[in-house]
């Protein structure tokens, strides 16, 4: 597959590993912002290979994990209302709200359907005029243009049975929140490459200058990840802290103006609670008032959310903020597993806890549960 396979080339990866080991004179602490990068780092074994050279702290970049439980509860409530079809990405189905997941809601009769794209949900609404189709919109800036476009399409088609339950979050305010925290150990960031395809590179310059940290736009394949790490380490070794782009084939400095135009047409920024992290100023997106008719919260009269207290045995907040690694949580792998998660990062395969559980060495048998597929 072009533009994928080249960046999984083991020889190139090996020589980059060699370069990084040669460059580093001490162990630097880097944060990869995006959960997709966490997954790639663990799956390829880069983390073990660079032990003692670079310590990677896993950032809050799993939008599924930081979606507040109240939002999931409301989505579940909608799925159980007669005449409503709740659509969302496959990632969201297993994430627990305050009591259960959308998958269990579907099992007791909730109308939940997974779609690959929010634009497919618009098509479902067009084909099923008697149903209220709600798309549960989660994701970072990477995903927001697609959901914004779904509103523009629904409006042009004159659909009055399509709406969004918006839980979009913005990456940059979260990075800033991490840098502001007193116990922050992060010395350099690998910025989330696919978010930057939309929002660009230049917007990080102020952040990098203010906090004196290198911010390197980084991709997801092993070679891309190593290029990002190498750049970051080289900057730290030379005492510089600037913004650079190691994902230039996909990321333009100014981002994607078409995408940003669609986004700003439909969304405004707003303060937003992040699960496990608390409210982050300007940390989310909401539909602009002129699109209120496509807002599921308005259409279905969402009750004022009450903030829920997360399970005391779950330290997902500390994991998401990069304060601890998943295995440091007492519940990790014992009371909390992908089969019965306590916190959201154990659910999504992009979540730091699940990524550790899957890829980190372990001993002893673990439970199996296989549901039927394809027979």
């Amino acid at each position: 597959m072009k533009y994928v396979d080249e960046y999984r080339d083991p020889r190139l990866a090996r020589s980059l590993l060699h370069e990084i080991r040669q460059t580093a004179t001490q162990c630097w602490v880097l944060m990869e912002v995006c959960g997709g990068q966490t997954h790639g780092l663990l799956k390829s074994g880069i983390i073990q290979e660079l032990e003692g050279v670079v310590e990677l702290i896993h950032g809050p970049g799993c939008p599924v994990c930081v979606t507040p439980a109240e939002a999931i509860d409301f989505a579940q409530e909608l799925a159980l209302r007669p005449g409503v079809l709740l659509t969302t990405f496959g990632d969201m189905l297993r994430v627990p709200g305050s009591r259960e997941s959308l998958l269990t809601v579907r099992a007791r009769g909730g109308n939940v359907r997974l779609v690959y794209s929010p634009l497919d949900a618009v098509e479902l609404a067009r084909q099923n005029p008697s149903q209220q189709v709600v798309f549960f919109a989660v994701g970072f800036e990477t995903t927001a243009p697609a959901t914004a476009l779904s509103v523009l399409q629904a409006a042009q088609l004159g659909l009055d049975n399509f709406s969004l339950l918006v839980a979009h979050v913005r990456v940059q305010p979260a990075m800033e929140a991490i840098l502001q925290s007193a116990e922050c150990r992060v010395q350099g960031f690998l910025a989330a490459g696919h978010v930057c395809t939309i929002s660009g590179v230049t917007s990080y310059e102020e952040l990098s200058a203010r906090y004196g940290v290198p911010i390197v736009v980084t991709g997801f394949e092993p070679v891309d990840l190593l290029l990002g790490i190498q750049d970051c380490v080289a900057q730290l070794e030379s005492g510089t802290a600037s913004v650079s782009n190691q994902y230039q084939r996909n990321v333009r400095d100014a981002g994607n103006r078409h995408a940003m135009h669609i986004m700003s047409d439909v969304y405004a920024t707003a303060d937003r609670p992040w699960r496990g992290l608390g409210t982050i100023p300007s940390g989310g997106l909401v539909l602009r008032p002129e699109w209120r008719q496509f807002d599921a919260e308005y259409r279905f009269q969402r009750p004022t959310p009450t903030l829920l207290i997360e399970c005391a045995d779950c330290r997902s907040g500390d994991v998401l903020a990069g304060r601890i690694k998943p295995p440091a949580c007492e519940s990790f792998g014992t009371r909390c597993t992908p089969e019965s998660p306590l916190g959201a990062p154990m659910v999504s395969s992009e979540g730091a806890c699940a990524a550790y559980y899957r890829h980190a060495p372990k001993s002893g048998p673990h439970a199996v549960s296989i549901t039927n597929t394809g027979r």
Binding site: Y3, S15, V138
Partner: protein
Amino acid sequence: MCLAVPGKIVRWLDHDPTFGRAEVEFAGIRRICHMACVPDAAEGDYVLVHAGIAITQIDAVEAQRVLEDLAILNDVDEEHAL
């Protein structure tokens, strides 16, 4: 949310600013993707697709440059190894 996959534009179906769509090929399969964010991409170009929508056009020249730089690095390393 980060899973985005490079695919080749096989043919444009509609150039509408909101409903623009093209058929895009990923390894052995094709899917119709929404193109509102990459209106200038041409057939034969590669785009990065996320959740059914092309979010950026891949810069072939830049990609080539990085791979060439890496090839040189790799050769140097192999010489060292010998």
